[in-house]
Symmetry: C2
Subunit: 216 residues, 2 copies
């Protein structure tokens, strides 16, 4: 947990300061665009130390992303496989992500770079999570929608499409925040945007996927 970069100014350990700085620089510029000099400078650490602790830029990149992904997935997993009816579980899963967003505002942008470049690190983390015994994130998600359908709460929607839509609705606006601010001034640049967005996403999903007559 100590390896997880925080968006906090101070940190004692130079290893941690490098991770914090790398988190910010990678979010801004991506893996290719980031300069190891910048990261070292922002961390207040000598450039040579960056290579001493983390062999290469790519390894540092992976060390920044992997713990973040792991933590999100772990929390999602426990919420999705937990108790509660499908509706509540979906709502909890969405909220997990939005809460995470408050702690790591740059995460969507980081994910965006990853996706554009082929998502190698993310795919690696996924591969490590594919526990054939318990199934995984997607298994839980699928089960959620199937149960919901059996109980007459959700309509008959392909679970894969529902999963994709859920993720898209959550991640996209925050990754595209710069554009939104330019195109729709006064929307995404407000502090209340996260909460507004959370409510809208939940509403859209519940109504869009839910069986009529089961809406709050």
């Amino acid at each position: 947990m100590d390896l997880v970069p925080r968006e906090e100014p101070e940190a004692a350990d130079p290893r941690q300061r490098l991770l914090n700085a790398a988190y910010r620089v990678f979010a801004e510029k991506g893996l290719q665009g980031a300069r190891t000099r910048d990261i070292a400078a922002r961390a207040g650490v000598n450039l040579a130390m960056l290579h001493y602790y983390y062999r290469s830029k790519e390894e540092l990149y992976a060390q920044v992303l992997t713990p973040l992904y792991r933590e999100v997935f772990s929390r999602l997993d426990s919420v999705l496989s937990g108790p509660g009816d499908p509706r509540d579980r979906l709502e909890a899963a969405v909220s997990v992500y939005f809460d995470f967003l408050k702690r790591y505002p740059s995460l969507p942008r980081l994910v965006m770079w990853e996706l554009a470049s082929g998502a190698q690190v993310l795919r690696g983390v996924f591969a490590g999570l594919l526990d054939p015994a318990s199934g995984s994130l997607f298994h839980h998600f699928r089960r959620l929608f199937q149960e919901g359908r059996e109980q007459g709460i959700f309509r008959d929607t392909p679970p894969e499409q529902a999963i994709i839509s859920t993720v898209a609705l959550i991640i996209f606006p925050f990754a595209a925040r710069d554009l939104l601010t330019a195109a729709l001034p006064g929307v995404a640049d407000q502090p209340e945007f996260i909460e507004r967005r959370r409510r809208h996403v939940l509403d859209l999903l519940m109504r869009g996927l839910g069986e009529e007559g089961h809406n709050p």
Copy 2:
């Protein structure tokens, strides 16, 4: 229209071949990751010619993206401001994008790179489109949802949120296609995926945004 890159193998004009190659390389690697040498090589054109026709890598990048954005926006604009009830217009707008996707499969990835890096080109095109007289894309979109609400077709949803969600649902899955293929094998890697996705998006939007009792 000749400047719009096509994903076709052959082209006579070296200018056009450079645009075609640049379209592919930029989609794969992004602006920073792309190498002018690669683009020239893929185009079968000498590296010096790339700089002869397009002064810099950045200018080539802009020349690839601008016509694409312009065309999408122009088509969306005419569909959104056209006749038909709000429901039909929304459906037509979504379809415009999906049709475009069939011609330019790499466009979402290109957009993804843009968004991650701050969307400078996209914002430039937007600024050029902001015709204060006629309003613009977003104006039409807003009007669509407002009309729909007045007619009792759409529920009372913040138009900005509806716009964001529409774009997110359409773009995201195709930009994240590599990841989806890894995480959900047999879903996004099928040729029917575009059509499946189109149907799901329309269904989700209509039910999610529509007033109950107005669903087909």
